[in-house]
Symmetry: C2
Subunit: 254 residues, 2 copies
């Protein structure tokens, strides 16, 4: 096993399971911290700010400050700012996306916006979808924080951002650019934040189709931990294996 000098780490299913602590996850991050190895939590969740995510992690006894967190909202706002400084953005989303867009100096737009950005929004309305469709038909560049289709909650699987995004792509016939995992857009940005090179960095997660594919797409080694979605049995269905697969982060030496 290689000694990695940078870790990218998924959240739900890897660091906790919904409201449930994962003891081995807390110990794992503490080991990284005590050895001074840089780590960054990379999440498709667009609704929370990095500070809110860090607070949640701390409540699970996982050492995390705001700058250990990289969200699909941060990645999306950075992507826009790099393409067009001061662009106008029509946004469907919550506080995490709203503050990321504002912090990058982007300005609110409507039917005439330069960009339409869709993130999960539990206050979604028909009117928000209508404005997004009009803006895309008017030529706005169409971005979506992530393509996740279903959101695990205590009520069951609810519609996630990729499903909401489908309204606009179906109605306009324009396909969005997705930013979050498994796309490499978020990973390339996260690498810059982490400050390590690809060959010394590993992506750690529980879900093959987002975390592991994101690592592979970005050319990183990958560590699948069977504490979430992709069990050992499900993994057997994929043609390409992650670099490592383990049952618990207790089995991993940093």
């Amino acid at each position: 096993m290689k000694a990695y000098r940078g870790y990218m780490i998924d959240l739900d299913g890897t660091m906790y399971r919904g409201a449930q602590r994962i003891e081995a996850a807390s110990d794992f991050v503490k080991r990284l911290r005590s050895k001074g190895i840089p780590y960054l939590f990379v999440t498709n969740n667009s609704t929370r700010t990095p500070a809110q995510v860090a607070e949640k992690l701390s409540s699970y006894d996982i050492p995390a400050e705001e700058d250990h967190v990289f969200t699909s909202s941060l990645a999306t706002a950075s992507f826009i700012a790099a393409e067009k400084q001061g662009a106008s953005v029509y946004m469907i989303g919550e506080e995490g996306l709203r503050s990321a867009i504002r912090d990058k100096g982007l300005i609110p737009g409507a039917e005439d916006a330069d960009y339409v950005v869709v993130g999960l929004d539990t206050a979604l309305t028909y009117e928000k979808l209508a404005v997004a469709c009009l803006a895309v038909r008017n030529g706005a560049r169409f971005l979506s924080t992530n393509s996740d289709l279903a959101l695990p909650t205590e009520r069951g699987m609810l519609p996630a951002n990729g499903a909401i995004t489908a309204v606009i792509s179906a109605s306009t016939g324009v396909k969005p650019t997705f930013i979050g995992k498994p796309e490499s857009i978020i990973m390339e940005q996260a690498l810059k934040v982490l400050g390590t090179s690809k060959d010394e960095t590993i992506m750690v997660g529980d879900y093959y189709e987002t975390d592991i594919l994101a690592g592979m797409n970005a050319g990183l080694d990958t560590l699948l931990v069977h504490t979430g979605v992709t069990t050992r049995e499900l993994l057997a269905n994929y043609p390409r294996n992650p670099t490592y697969a383990i049952d618990s982060l207790d089995q991993w030496n940093v």
Copy 2:
């Protein structure tokens, strides 16, 4: 030209264009009425009741009572009642769908409903989509009034019912049964209401992909009138022609 004994007629683009009258349409329906030829307006619009549609037609000087109107909401409610009398239904939609479901003796349901039905709903919320997804995952039969993707309005093209329905199909992986044009479900029901046989009935409309295909799928003769979506130029792209194509209903002898 055959003498048809029953007419099915589309609304927007055929009888009027948005808020604009089509003089020839009014004259055409008056000719049908004076000869005592049965006609039925067959519309994918699920939001209005037949009485509301008839009132709108009357305001364009088109002779129409409630029982001249057959909506995708009526077809959907009839479809459910025929499959399971007294079924529970979780509905996304407006007054046209709500009253059609109630009038068929179906009862309101939620996450445990027998059926999920999606019609256009400008008061759509995330919560409505969430309940629909939970019900479909719980095994509810998934219906949608129609598959239209974009709704022409004075503001531009807004998301239509097929695009809204895509949230639920994308998130759950379950494909809906569509009821409205171009499906033959609505046409078979409309034929029973009209009371004429297939070989003596013609479908009249402006849009190849809903009206003309609906007629073809149901085995009817078809009349395309170039007052709406499908122009003479666009028609040249389709491999199969309607039975007749004319520029104005003035050119048609009933």
